[in-house]
C-alpha cells in the first residue's frame, strides 16, 4: 500500500483515466507552481478498474480548474481546507480554452502570428464542439488526449 501524506489546503483530482495524469499535470501548468504535487498512477478503482489521482497542495484560488471540464468532465474535484473536503466542484465545459489545443488549419493566422494564443470557443455545448476563435475551424481531436 502506497501512502501519500494528508493535504491541508488544495485539491484532489480523482477518477482521472489511467495514464492521463501527466497530460493534466501539463495542461494545468502544475510544473510552474512552487507547491507540493503528488501524482498517483494506476491506482485501483472499483468504478474504473484503474485510475490516476493528482493531489495539489496550494491555496484554493491559485488554480484554474475550468479546463478540466474540457479534458474530461468525469474527473472528481475535491476541494480541501483544514484537511477536510469542503466542496466538490462540478465540471462543465468551459466557454473558452486558451493554449491547450492548437488550431490545425494551415490557413489560420495562429500558424504564423508570433505569441498569439490558441483560443477555442464553445460553439455547441450539446455536441461539445469547439471552434477556433480566429478561423472557426472545428476542433476534431480527442478531448481526453
Amino acid at each position: 500500500m502506497l501512502n501519500v501524506g494528508q493535504l491541508y489546503e488544495g485539491f484532489v483530482l480523482d477518477h482521472i483515466k489511467a495514464g492521463k495524469s501527466m497530460t493534466i499535470y501539463h495542461d494545468l501548468q502544475l510544473d510552474t507552481l512552487d507547491c507540493c504535487v503528488a501524482i498517483i498512477k494506476n491506482a485501483k478503482s472499483n468504478k474504473m478498474g484503474r485510475k490516476d489521482i493528482i493531489k495539489v497542495e496550494c491555496p484554493i484560488d491559485q488554480l484554474d480548474l475550468n479546463i478540466l471540464g474540457f479534458i474530461d468532465h468525469n474527473i472528481t474535484v475535491n476541494i480541501i481546507k483544514d484537511a477536510t473536503i469542503v466542496a466538490k466542484k462540478d465540471l462543465t465545459l468551459p466557454q473558452k480554452i486558451e493554449n491547450v489545443i492548437k488550431c490545425k488549419n494551415p490557413r489560420c493566422i495562429t500558424s504564423i502570428e508570433q505569441e498569439l494564443k490558441h483560443i477555442f470557443i464553445l460553439a455547441d455545448p450539446e455536441k461539445e464542439i469547439y471552434r477556433c476563435k480566429y478561423c472557426e475551424e472545428k476542433y476534431s481531436g480527442d478531448h481526453n488526449r
Binding site: R107, C108, I109, I112, E113, Q114, L116, D124, R131, Y134
Partner: protein
C-alpha cells in the same frame, strides 16, 4: 469604437441603416463629398486585390478623405517578419480607419484586438468577406426590393469562397430565404456553415451538383470563381476550374426576373455573352460596393452628416 469582422457584427437594424445610408449616398453624392475631409484610410492588403482595394480607396476619396497603404505583403514589413499586431499598431498612428485583407484566416481579428482605430475585414483567407456581403445585400435590396422571400442559388467554390460564407451568414437572418447550394462534391460548404448557420437557423437548403437543375426555381444566382490561390494542389484546381460555365443556353432555363450576381473577378464561369443580358447585374454590383463602403466608413468613424 467598432470593427467589422463578420456581417453578423451588425444587427439587422444596423445593417438596414447602413443600406439606407448607401442608397442616400447614391442619390445625393454631392452632400457627402467633404464629410471626411482630413481623414485617412489605411488599406493594408497582404494579398492581391483589385476591386476591394480600389473600392475602399474610391469610397474614402468620394468622402473627401485620403488613402495610404500597401497592396501586397512583399512591399510591407511583413516581408521582414513583422507581425500583424505590430503593423496595425503602426498604421493606427497614421490613419483614422483601416481595411485589411490577409491570406490567413482571422488576421483582421488579431489586428482589431490591439488597434486604436476601427478595423474592417476586407477578406481573410477562405473565411469572411463582410464588405462584399454588404455590397451583395445592397445590390439585392436595391434591385429586388427585398431581402426576404427569396430562393438563392449559390454556385461554384462554396468551400473556400469567403464571400459565400459571409453572404449565407447574413441572409439566414431574413424570413423565408431558401438556398440551393450548387457545387462539386469536393467544394461543398464547410460543415460549420451547414451545421451552425443553416441547420441551426432552420433554413431550407439543398445541395446539388448540376446548375441546370437549380436554375428554373431561382430568384437570384450568385456565381463564384474557383480560386486557384486556395488550392495547395494544382491538379485539384485544374480538375475543378471549368466545372460551371454560365452561358446563354443555361440562362434560357432561368426565370425572366432572376438576377445574376458575382463578387468578381470572373475567369470563365460566366461567359461574356451573358454580360448583355439585363439579368446580369455584376457590374452594377461593383458600383453598389463603393456606396456601401462609403456608408460603412461613415458609420464606423461615427461621422454625422447634417
Amino acid at each position: 469604437m467598432r470593427h467589422l469582422m463578420s456581417p453578423l457584427d451588425l444587427s439587422v437594424e444596423e445593417l438596414d441603416k447602413i443600406l439606407d445610408l448607401a442608397n442616400d449616398i447614391e442619390k445625393n453624392p454631392q452632400e457627402y463629398a467633404h464629410v471626411c475631409d482630413g481623414k485617412r484610410i489605411a488599406t493594408l492588403f497582404y494579398e492581391p486585390s483589385t476591386r476591394t482595394r480600389l473600392s475602399f480607396e474610391a469610397a474614402m476619396m468620394n468622402l473627401g478623405g485620403n488613402v495610404l497603404g500597401f497592396s501586397n505583403a512583399d512591399s510591407s514589413s511583413a516581408a521582414k517578419g513583422e507581425s500583424v499586431s505590430d503593423t496595425i499598431r503602426m498604421a493606427s498612428c497614421y490613419a483614422d480607419i483601416c481595411a485589411m485583407r490577409h491570406p490567413k484566416e482571422g488576421a483582421p481579428l488579431v489586428a482589431s484586438q490591439v488597434s486604436s482605430i476601427p478595423v474592417i475585414n476586407a477578406g481573410d483567407g477562405g473565411h469572411q468577406h463582410p464588405t462584399q456581403t454588404l455590397t451583395d445585400l445592397l445590390t439585392i435590396r436595391s434591385l429586388k426590393g427585398r431581402l426576404h422571400n427569396l430562393t438563392i442559388g449559390i454556385c461554384g467554390d462554396l468551400k473556400f469562397g469567403r464571400t459565400v460564407h459571409s453572404l449565407i451568414k447574413a441572409l439566414v437572418r431574413y424570413d423565408n430565404v431558401r438556398f440551393i447550394l450548387i457545387s462539386p462534391e469536393e467544394l461543398r460548404v464547410p460543415d460549420y456553415i451547414r451545421d451552425d448557420v443553416l441547420t441551426r437557423n432552420n433554413k431550407e437548403f439543398e445541395e446539388v451538383v448540376r446548375l441546370e437543375e437549380a436554375l428554373p426555381s431561382l430568384d437570384l444566382l450568385y456565381m463564384t470563381r474557383v480560386q486557384k490561390e486556395r488550392f495547395f494542389n494544382e491538379e485539384d484546381y485544374v480538375r475543378m476550374k471549368d466545372f460551371y460555365i454560365l452561358d446563354k443556353p443555361k440562362m434560357e432555363l432561368a426565370p425572366r426576373e432572376m438576377l445574376v450576381l458575382h463578387p468578381l473577378p470572373r475567369v470563365n464561369e460566366i461567359s461574356t455573352e451573358v454580360d448583355s443580358d439585363p439579368r446580369a447585374v455584376y457590374f452594377k454590383q461593383v458600383r453598389y460596393g463603393v456606396y456601401v463602403r462609403m456608408a460603412l466608413i461613415l458609420t464606423l468613424l461615427e461621422v454625422k452628416v447634417c
